[in-house]
Chain length 307, copies 2
């Protein structure tokens, strides 16, 4: 994607566990170039972060130092340099101080966005704070619940531009482990998801959440005994896990204004799950939220504090 | 273990997904020899079962065909030959017909014990029916609940020598996946388990089972923010999952006579979990139940039905 001489006014970087994505932003605020690589934080030793970044962005660098603003797991303890969590309540776009990070190449001036933490119940996020900043840049007066479904789904209570509280459910990771690595894998292969079975499983789990542990193996047993198809079995697994998540997050969504921002199919699934409880949620494609958040944070940030 | 000429009156075989264990039994009913291998059903193509068995038992075979009675996943659809489930209610030691299995070596006469199935709610077991037969051979008048904890824990209601109903919870598999393959693996390493944290997590989960999805990531967040040790974090994970299992199986254990038969440390853990609810369970080492069950089934079995 890079290659021609495209000087960036600054560079936005979304650096998660399994991916690295960078954007060259012009002085006019427009995207000049974009590049991605599979060099996520999870596979990099500390001294490999700068080379991985330069591989992507070197062609965008002029003579003077170019500001680079990065968010995500790059700032975790096991990342390039730890950017300690900010304690909530906090305004995500005003999360000072950014963490200035020592680099070898003088053409880079790197800052890492800190994650957010909550004392009680203990919870953390890293990366989603930037999506929240992007969301709030668009919907400045939003008061309600933002749900960010994914590997670790975040339920975030926003009020007056602040994160008031949040809760993480590892539903996506559970679904991945159970559907690919447990005995259930034999029964839930494929991508198809039966809509009625999904809605039934969500409703059943919400009305009897204490039965979750029994529901899971039943999916396999029913497939074995009765030849239940994979689209039904997969819907039951997904519905049971999302149902369990809704049972645990009821205080977040009951009677609240809700936006679900995620990959479209997943955001739709959460909206349908909430609909079984008579709750209407607005689904939103989260694809551009991280970049919008980085731009918003860059606008409001002060000078990086010295390392 | 084999090697010298030890002729068996018959051979007992416990053949699970990951292990193969065989015993040479003399005409007096005593164990003459024992052998184990890692050639579990999960890693064998259909034509590799007989060689794997012969590797273990060949030295025990005389001229005439020696009866071999096998239980476990060897009888699954993906096993050596499917031994269709018997529908409950059923008496495990009288589970006729055994499945006679065609073999190439005329010195073997193989029968496979069928598993048990339940229509509603759908459930299946394969291997545990033999442990149940072994348990009932010892405790002929037992009326109550037998819990067999493991990868897929079985809760079994026994009355008048019959399996009346049962329920499977995949708690062991969930614990394995979450403790070794999820983000929680960073927080729960090692084998130590804090007893108080375990009891607290069981009780908390039983009083608020709908919060399970929230508890799991909290374990990680608390370790990240507050440096909670692995023995506490591991106890919280184990307690949350076993607590969720007890929530789902409450009709099985509330006010019942209960025996937990498993590996001693695991049986003890379940007994401690039940004790938090004021329920006393008798823990029993399950090590010898499968062989006792195979012996009991052999005593009561009729001639194998033709294939």
């Amino acid at each position: 994607m890079s290659g021609s001489a495209t000087y960036a006014d600054w560079i936005a970087v979304d650096w998660g566990t399994t991916h690295l994505r960078a954007w060259a932003i012009g002085a006019d605020g427009m995207i000049r170039a974009e590049a991605v690589s599979a060099k996520g934080m999870g596979g990099l030793a500390r001294d490999k972060f700068e080379p991985a970044l330069l591989d992507l962005v070197e062609d965008w660098l002029g003579a003077g130092p170019t500001p680079v603003l990065a968010c995500g797991m790059v700032g975790a303890k096991q990342g390039w340099q730890e950017a300690p969590y900010m304690r909530i309540p906090a305004k995500p776009a005003e999360m000072m101080p950014m963490r200035a990070t020592a680099v070898n190449d003088a053409r880079l001036s790197l800052s890492i966005v800190p994650g957010l933490s909550q004392a009680n119940p203990p919870d953390v996020m890293r990366g989603e704070e930037t999506q929240i900043a992007g969301f709030l840049a668009r919907e400045t007066s939003f008061d309600g619940i933002l749900c960010l479904p994914g590997t670790h789904t975040k339920w975030v209570h926003l009020s007056a531009g602040e994160v008031v509280s949040f809760q993480t459910c590892m539903t996506g990771e559970m679904f991945d482990l159970l559907s690919n690595h447990s005995v259930l894998r034999h029964s839930v292969a494929g991508e198809a998801l039966n809509a009625d079975s999904f809605a039934d499983a969500v409703s059943d789990t919400l009305s009897r959440p204490e039965r979750l542990a029994q529901r899971l193996f039943s999916i396999r047993a029913d497939a074995t005994l009765n030849g239940t198809g994979a689209a039904v079995a997969r819907a039951r697994l997904s519905g049971a896990l999302i149902g369990a998540e809704l049972a645990a997050t009821r205080p977040y969504w009951l009677g609240q204004q809700i936006v679900v921002a995620g990959a479209p199919a997943l955001a739709d699934l959460y909206a349908r799950a909430l609909a079984t409880q008579g709750t209407t949620a607005r689904a939103m494609d989260a694809a551009s939220l991280t970049l919008a958040g980085l731009a918003r944070i860059r606008m409001t940030q002060k000078e990086p504090s010295p390392t």
